[in-house]
């Protein structure tokens, strides 16, 4: 499965007739199942807007988002639901993405039922437990009856990943999914993600400002600045021989604890 942005642009107009903001300009990007693709850039570079475009959460102003060669924008309900199943989102703020009044089991179970991944309550429970154990939340019974506020930040983030993978997506778009986490929790969430890539062939579009993490887990890197993709290439090449001055600047600024 191949998710592509083709010459995609997004222009935001301010309400009171002010100027236009070109958040994303003619971006080309390819994501595939089984491949870990990263988009790096600083705040305001347009990387989160590109993520929302890829997820079909906002329509592009120009260009198109295509899944296996077919445009995903403006199609019927059935096609959109199928798309939602194949391409899942994990966003930064786990508290904001989880309904505080739903227990973990219900938050995940509902999605499984809505997408027809399981029918009977017993099957839904089994699938939910499976998803939770995939992200290392074992035994699952210890977590299904908890509310989001009864979990730590890392656990909430893992619930979001569990909910995403419960639908067996081919690609997960993760926007700053681990940025707010402590090192130890970050490492465990990344381990889960890399593990899913290897075992189930899940692909990622991993959006972050955290370059060291990208150098650790990504296969391919896009660098964004002011709405444009200024450089892209295999991870090893980007980190060993960056072309663009902006990429060099980002690499120089990345904080690393010297050994």
């Amino acid at each position: 499965m191949r998710l592509e942005a083709k010459q995609v642009s997004k222009v935001f107009r301010s309400r009171r007739g002010g100027g236009e903001v070109h958040a994303v300009k003619n971006a080309d990007l390819v994501a595939e199942a089984g491949r870990f693709v990263a988009i790096v850039g600083e705040s305001g570079s347009g990387k989160s807007t590109l993520a929302r475009l890829l997820l079909d959460l906002i329509p592009p102003s120009g260009g198109s988002i295509e899944l296996d060669g077919k445009s995903v924008n403006g199609r019927g309900r059935a096609a959109t639901i199928a798309y939602r199943r194949s391409v899942q989102a994990v966003l930064q703020d786990p508290a904001g993405s989880l309904n505080p009044r739903k227990r973990v089991g219900r938050a995940i179970g509902e999605v499984i039922r809505l997408h027809g991944m399981a029918r009977t309550p017993a099957d839904v429970r089994r699938k939910t437990a499976e998803a939770l154990s995939l992200v290392g939340m074992v035994p699952a019974e210890a977590f299904v009856d908890r509310f989001p506020h009864e979990l730590s930040g890392g656990q909430r983030q893992r619930v979001l990943i569990a909910r995403a993978i419960a639908l067996s997506p081919r690609i997960i778009v993760a926007d700053e999914a681990v940025s707010a986490l402590d090192a130890s929790v970050k490492a465990s969430v990344l381990k889960v993600m890399v593990d899913l890539q290897r075992r189930l062939g899940v692909g990622y579009v991993f959006i972050t400002h955290d370059l060291p993490v990208v150098s650790k887990v990504a296969d391919y890197v896009y660098v964004m600045k002011s709405g444009e993709i200024v450089e892209h290439g295999e991870k090893t090449r980007i980190f060993s021989a960056p072309d663009h001055p902006y990429t060099k600047k980002l690499l120089a600024a990345a904080p690393v604890l010297e050994a």
């Binding site: 600083e42 705040s43 730590s152 930040g153 402590d182 090192a183 130890s184 929790v185 970050k186 490492a187 465990s188 990344l190 381990k191 890399v194 400002h209 370059l211 060291p212 993490v213 150098s215 650790k216 600047k249 980002l250 600024a253 990345a254 904080p255 690393v256 604890l257 010297e258 050994a259």
Partner: protein, 292 residues
Amino acid sequence: MDDVTEGRAILDVRDLQVFLPTGARTEIEAVSSVSLHVADGERVGIVGESGSGKSVTGRAIAGLLPTSPRVRVNGSVRVAGIEMVGAGRAAQEKVRGKTVGMIFQDPLTFLNPTMKIGRQVAESIPRSRGGDRQAEVQRFLAQAGLEDAAALARRFPHELSGGMRQRVLIAIAIAKLPELIIADEPTTALDATVQQRVLQTLDDAVRTLGTSLILISHDLAVVAQMTDRVYVMYRGRVVESGTTADVLRAPRHPYTQALLTSVRSLTDDGVPLYSIPPSLRRSLDEELTHAS
């Protein structure tokens, strides 16, 4: 006795214990018997994961815990030799007001959105100091690395970028010429390139004024760059302390060792992704419960 007696300590904390309410009848011991000191001009880091009690410790020192009768503070916090625990609100403010400056992670919650930058900096300058306040304001904004200070003083917080706002906070903190600045995750919300500039600014300001610094952060790279000594906190306690170089190079406590391994595993290609095993946390928790 330890080395506190050598030289004057701007801050001396002994057996600090803080209880915070978590519900109608429940509370947690957020800080348990923390002792630390900061000598004049010294730069000290407090590191730990979220929930380790590092921010609560910083707020307790700055006198910025929530004002609720259910927030209980025990032990001793001496700022410039004067005991803060149990002292009246007015007495505390008198000492801390002129001695301690604080910088937070999120400048927008600290800055007044309806007040121009210049006035917010001016408010931090003690009235007793006299002199040309406008000139002083611009001097502190410039010292905090902000260019065109005169124009900037007339702007509102929302007109500035995140990095500029954080430097305004530094200007506000240094304007009262404090003897101690407590910076709690001052650059965590910033991009790496901006982070470096803000850290440089803080570094210059502290150096120029000879101010002592407590830098609270989960980011060991930042603490390594900015501090001389470091305290490592876990579950409300200090588990290890020493010179920053020693602790980061040769950590003694199993928790510090695990924490460092996990930090390095995120950046070092040679170290596989490592998270602190739950079994280690369990044994540490047991040890800490027995010790207290």
